[in-house]
Amino acid sequence: MAEDMTPRTIDKRKLPELAGLIIAAGHRLYGPVRNGGEVTLTEIAEKPPLDFAYGNFKMSPKNFFLPQSEVICRFCGGDMLKDAVSAEEKKVLLGIRPCDARAVWLMDKVFLEEPGDFYYKQKRDSTILISAACLSPETTCFCTSVGGSPAGTEGSDILLFDLGKALLLDPASPRGEDFLNRFSEMTSEASKKQVSQKEQLAQEAASRLKKISLDGVAEKFARAFDSDLWAAPSQKCLGCGICTYFCPTCHCFDVTDETVREKGRRLRTWDSCMYPLFTLHASGHNPRPSQKERVRQRFMHKFSYSVQNHGELFCVGCGRCIKNCPVNLDLREVITR
């Protein structure tokens, strides 16, 4: 964040009012909603109380930029329908964690690089990301080991800190600063005391995270391509795809056409490299014939090829793959081995 962007604060009790103003300004507001033990990013149509004391959302905000199922064009008879893809509505995502925001920043490198993906860009341009700094990381989190931090700003437009009675709103991008300026009557300038409180909280949170050594992992993995070590973790992998679906940076997709009589549409849907069909050629040959190649592929893509292609590790340390894996295949264990 640039030196000239000043943090603002708002009394926590006034947050529902600010939320109301955001909605009134034409944005669809999505925020944390508790449902049993889970917190999901759900549309807040009215002004429910908002708290930021959760671990992380069940699913990543990936769906907002790369939807699980997206119509990319429609056709009827032999003609493509021109106005089939509607303009995106303006959205505000409130309360996503810095790891997930970093994931969006990483996905930008894939989807916004020239020539750019039209559908992703449309959504990205019309969405404001207000991340909530992570003050109580979960035991499965390891963002500091992969270049992130509980108070990281990559991908966010505004970074929010829960200071107890007040919320500190730190603009993290020019778009974020603009957004804050639009609602400046609701906020006041943050005091020095609040700013130092925020620094302290961020440090505390970071210190709670166990670090895994990932120095030189990209080269190590590249050298270990033919290693026998890949066999053991892949034996128990079921190939279910949960890790890829919950991962905030996994972005493989499939494009299929669906028709009902003369009408049809082209669909882009999530796909997973963990499925055998993913690399099955029409000839019947499969370059990744067994789970060993597929598990290896996932790790190589996340920790090695991504560094070669985009200069960054694509794992953000959110831990969802570890939490949700039905056979407890732990990414951290595989990396350290």
């Binding site: 279910c240 949960i242 997973s272």
Partner: protein, 334 residues
Amino acid sequence: MSANVRTSEELKSAARKLFEEGKIDLLIGYERGTLPLRTTPCFITSAEEVDRLVWDGFCSNNLAAYLPHLFSKEGKPKGWQPPKVAIVAKGCDGRSIIGLVKEKQAPRENVIILGVPCRGIVDLKKVLRALDHKEPVSGEAAEDASVIVRLDGGKEIRLGRDEVLFDSCKDCPHPEAPVCDLHVRPEIPEKKAERDFTDVADFEAKSPRERWDYFVREISKCIRCYACRQACPNCYCATCFAEQTQPKWIGVGTDLSEVMIYHLGRIFHQAGRCVDCGACVRACPMSIDLRVFTRKMVKDVKELFGYEAGISVEEPPPLCTFKTDDDQSFITEP
């Protein structure tokens, strides 16, 4: 606790013996996981690794799911011989194995079933609910599946069997695999009465509208990850109907009609084969209540054809045989 430890020790010595006598190439069992209250499948190839094995109420995965792939001839080099595999089996897993043997997915002579006495598996989702969703730091399961968990800060909480037992285990009549090669502990827990399907009967008693609404609500949660299919030992088709393109039965998106047909089709394909092990429910990351649907299939097969999956290798599968007086009350007459 001590009963579990005893079983673990007997399991380890049985495993060691099998390796030392050269009877097996591979043993599939459970070892301690990286997260509290979790175990994870482990694949052991020598007597030295045997100490990794554990057995307790957290051993939830159905290990039979790994067998079809191990014995599949596809992609294997010429002259490949199927391995000799020992597999730790609870009652339900053991029935899955018999089901796979019946369907020729695993040669019976290559599988050594190590029957462990199972009093039930702990449902981790129920544990979390009972703890008000605070993450436990550690915990143990007693043989009756009651648990002791420790939270951050040292607080210890005991949860009774009734609070945390996985639903499939509540009325399970098979504490040990009905067909097994080695009883890991000779004292087998008493076999319970027949399975009771009151949950299915209660659902049947609801109105069609209520049933449809429930079906819609549960299936709407589905993200088409296919974890249910992958975790199920019976789902070993090289290409699942849901992903077939010639013909294309359903698309790949999340349209409700397609997701419903996926579940309707998959569960129907389990007719006469499902052993109600619950692997699908446990694998589902969205906590879809699949059992109210899978159990309908198990109940109908039992009531219409008097068949329970995985009890005997010789009994023919219900959909491959018939009786001349099978029920036909469903036929439309003018």
